[in-house]
C-alpha cells in the first residue's frame, strides 16, 4: 500500500535518515516520536510537500517520489487543521471536488454523505471561525476523506483537543479505520498509539528506531524514548468486568482491581513500574492488588533496577539498588508485589 524505502531528507540542521517502513492496506499505522523527531516531515514527504534527497516512496505499487502532490492519492490532515478560513464548512469539504467530472448535485450529495458520517451536517453553512477545535478536526477529516485517499495521513490529530473531545475523536478514527481506510497517524502520545494503532514505528532524531506491533514495541523498547515510559512495560491486553460490585480488569486469568468509569470494555491496562511495591511478606496497606510471584530477572537500568516478577503475568517493578540489597532480591526468589487500583490505567482499544 504505502512503502518508504530509505528516505532521507535534509532541512537546515535537521535531517531524516534512511526512513523505511511499510503500511499495509487496512493498517492503522502509528508513527510515534517526541516533538522535533521528524514525524511531521515524514508525512509532508509522503504527501509531496517536501522533496527527499534520496530514497523512494511507493504507493499501491507505483513509485511516486517525484510525482506531483495532487497526483499521489494521499490525504493529509494537518495538526492545526489548516481549514480555509474564508470558505464555509461546505466549501471547505468540497474544495477537492473541483475539476472532477461531477454535477453540482453529485458534489452536493458527496458533501452531505461525508458530513453525515462525521456528524457535522449541521455545520455546513457555518464559517470556520465559529467552530470548536473538535468540530474543525471533523471538518478537516471530512475535507480529506471526500477525496477517497489511498492513505489518510494524520498529523497529531488529537494534540490540541480536550480529553472529552479526544475520546470522541478516537472513536471516530476507529470507525473510519473499520470502514477500511488505511491510516498513518503521527503522535507523541503513547496512549494514543496503544489505543488506535495495530502497527507502530518509533522515530527518534530523524530515524526509525523500532517498529512492530504495539506489544513488540512496548514490551521490548529499543529506544530511550520508549524506555522513558518504562512503566509501560506493564502493559497488558485486558477486559473490564464488574464483579461483586467492584471493577476488575481481567488479564488472562489474573484479576486486577482497577478504578475506572469504564464498564465492560476491552483495551489495555498500564501500570507504571515505579508504582509497584515489593515486599518479602504480604503487607496490609491501601493497595488492593497483592500478588505473589517469582523473580525472573533483575536488570539495572538508568532509571533504577528493573525487577521482572512472574505472578501469572510478568510484571516489571522499578526499584532502587538499595531496595534490591535490603530485600535481598535474587532471581528465583518468591516475592510479594503490591499496587493500588488507582495506579492501574485503562486505555480502551
Amino acid at each position: 500500500m504505502l512503502e518508504l524505502k530509505n528516505i532521507s531528507v535534509r532541512a537546515g540542521d535537521f535531517s531524516l535518515r534512511e526512513i523505511s517502513f511499510t503500511v499495509s492496506k487496512g493498517d492503522y499505522f502509528i508513527l510515534l516520536g517526541e516533538s522535533g523527531a521528524g514525524k511531521s516531515m515524514v508525512l509532508e514527504t509522503i504527501a509531496g510537500l517536501v522533496s527527499p534527497a534520496s530514497g523512494e516512496i511507493v504507493i499501491n505499487g507505483k513509485e511516486v517520489t517525484g510525482e506531483k502532490i495532487q497526483k499521489r492519492g494521499i490525504g493529509l490532515v494537518f495538526q492545526d487543521y489548516a481549514i480555509f478560513p474564508h470558505l464555509t464548512v461546505s466549501e471547505n469539504i468540497s474544495y477537492s471536488l473541483h475539476g472532477r467530472k461531477l454535477s453540482h448535485q453529485e458534489k452536493k450529495k458527496k458533501v452531505l454523505v461525508i458530513a453525515d458520517q462525521l456528524n457535522i451536517s449541521g455545520l455546513l453553512d457555518r464559517r470556520p471561525s465559529s467552530l470548536s477545535g473538535g468540530e474543525l478536526q471533523r471538518v478537516a477529516l471530512a475535507r480529506t476523506l471526500i477525496q477517497d485517499p489511498h492513505v489518510l495521513l494524520l498529523d497529531e490529530p488529537l494534540a490540541s483537543l480536550d480529553s472529552r473531545i479526544k475520546t470522541e475523536l478516537r472513536s471516530l478514527l476507529r470507525k473510519i479505520h473499520r470502514q477500511g481506510q488505511t491510516i498513518l497517524h503521527v503522535t507523541h502520545d503513547y496512549e494514543e498509539a496503544l489505543s488506535l494503532g495495530n502497527r507502530i514505528a518509533v522515530i527518534d532524531n530523524g530515524a526509525i528506531v523500532q517498529s512492530g506491533t504495539p506489544e513488540e514495541v512496548f514490551r521490548n523498547p529499543r529506544s530511550e524514548f520508549i524506555a522513558h515510559f518504562v512503566g509501560v512495560r506493564n502493559f497488558f491486553p485486558a477486559k473490564i468486568i464488574r464483579e461483586n460490585g467492584s471493577t476488575k480488569a481481567l488479564v488472562d486469568s489474573l484479576s486486577v482491581n482497577i478504578f475506572t468509569q469504564e464498564k465492560e470494555a476491552s483495551g489495555f491496562i498500564l501500570i507504571r513500574g515505579e508504582d509497584i511495591i515489593l515486599s518479602n511478606e504480604q503487607i496490609d496497606s491501601s493497595a488492593t492488588n497483592n500478588f505473589e510471584g517469582t523473580i525472573c530477572e533483575i536488570t539495572p537500568t538508568v532509571k533504577g533496577v528493573d525487577v521482572i516478577i512472574d505472578a501469572g503475568i510478568r510484571f516489571h517493578a522499578l526499584v532502587t539498588p538499595g531496595s534490591v540489597t535490603h530485600l535481598e532480591l535474587t532471581e528465583g526468589k518468591k516475592i510479594w508485589l503490591h499496587f493500588k487500583a488507582t495506579a492501574v490505567k485503562f486505555i480502551p482499544a
Binding site: Q70, L76, F78, D80, P85, P128
Partner: protein, 269 residues
C-alpha cells in the same frame, strides 16, 4: 475615568501637537474658502476635467500595474532567491528618491528616442504630454505601497493552508487564486487604495513628464504661480474634498476597516 501617569500625559500632549500640526493648515485653508468660490470652481470645465483626469489616470495606473505587482509580492513573501534583499531595496527606491528626479528618469525612459517611446510611436502613442505618461509617472512613485502591503498580506497567510490546498488536489495557480489571494485581500486592497491615493497626489514626477494635460496637483501649482494663493485655494479644497470622499467610500466598501494600516497580519484560523 482612567488615571494617567505624568509620562503618559506628556506623550498625549506630544501626540496632540502633531495632530494639530497636520490639521491646522488644512483647516485654515478650508475656513478661508467660501462655499460660493468652491461652487464656482467646481463649475469650471478645466478644474472638473483635471480632477477626472487625475482620478482615472491614477486608477488605471494602479489596476494595470497591480497585475504584475501582486504576483511579485507573492514571490517576495514566499520564495527565497539570490539577492532578494537587493530586489526589496529596489522596490523601495521610488519612495526615497526626489520625485522630480524620478520624473526626469521616467522622461528619459519614455521619450520618443527610447525603445519604449519608439514602440509607443509605432502605435501612435506619445507618452510625453499624454495620460499614459502621467499614469507611468504615478505608478513609478506609488507602486512600492502596493507591493509592500500585498507582500505583508501574503506573508500573513499560513503556508500550511496553501499546502493543505495542494494536498486536496489544487494546482499551484488554483491555490494562489482561491486561497492565497482571498486570504491576503485585506492587505492587497489596502495597498491598492494607498497606491491609488499616492498616485493621485503625485506632482513632482508628473510635471516633468506631462505638464499638459494638467492633473489637479499641477493645476493647483499653475494657479498659484499665475494668480496667487487665493486662486489656488478653492481648487485645492475641492480636490481634497473629492479625494477624501473617494477614499472614505473605498474604505467603506473594502472588507476591512483598517485599510490604511499596511502590514497588518491576517488572522488565519
Amino acid at each position: 475615568m482612567k488615571n494617567y501617569q505624568p509620562f503618559q500625559l506628556f506623550l498625549i500632549l506630544l501626540g496632540a501637537l502633531i495632530l494639530l500640526f497636520i490639521i491646522s493648515p488644512l483647516l485654515g485653508m478650508f475656513l478661508k474658502t467660501s462655499p460660493a468660490s468652491l461652487f464656482e470652481t467646481a463649475k469650471e470645465a478645466e478644474v472638473a476635467g483635471s480632477i477626472w483626469l487625475t482620478i482615472w489616470t491614477s486608477m488605471a495606473a494602479t489596476l494595470v500595474f497591480a497585475l504584475a505587482a501582486i504576483p511579485l509580492s507573492y514571490l517576495l513573501a514566499r520564495k527565497s532567491f539570490p539577492m532578494k534583499k537587493l530586489v526589496t531595496g529596489i522596490i523601495d527606491l521610488p519612495v526615497v528618491i526626489p520625485h522630480s528626479a524620478a520624473g526626469i528618469a521616467i522622461l528619459g525612459f519614455v521619450s520618443r528616442d527610447t525603445v519604449l517611446g519608439k514602440m509607443g510611436s509605432a502605435v501612435g502613442l506619445n507618452f510625453v504630454g499624454n495620460p499614459a505618461g502621467i499614469a507611468i509617472a504615478m505608478a513609478f512613485v506609488s507602486i512600492p505601497y502596493l507591493i509592500n502591503a500585498a507582500r505583508d498580506g501574503f506573508a500573513g497567510v499560513s503556508e500550511r493552508t496553501e499546502k493543505a490546498a495542494l494536498t486536496l488536489g489544487a494546482s499551484p495557480s488554483r491555490v494562489f487564486f482561491t486561497i492565497s489571494l482571498p486570504l491576503a485581500r485585506r492587505n492587497i486592497i489596502s495597498g491598492l487604495i494607498l497606491m491609488f491615493a499616492r498616485g493621485m497626489s503625485e506632482f513632482g514626477a508628473v510635471i516633468v513628464v506631462a505638464y499638459h494635460p494638467m492633473i489637479t496637483p499641477v493645476l493647483i501649482y499653475e494657479r498659484f504661480g499665475a494668480f496667487g494663493l487665493k486662486y489656488a485655494r478653492p481648487v485645492s479644497v475641492l480636490f481634497i474634498l473629492i479625494s477624501l470622499t473617494l477614499f472614505i467610500a473605498l474604505r467603506m466598501l473594502s472588507p476591512d476597516n483598517r485599510i490604511f494600516t499596511s502590514g497588518q497580519k491576517k488572522k488565519d484560523q
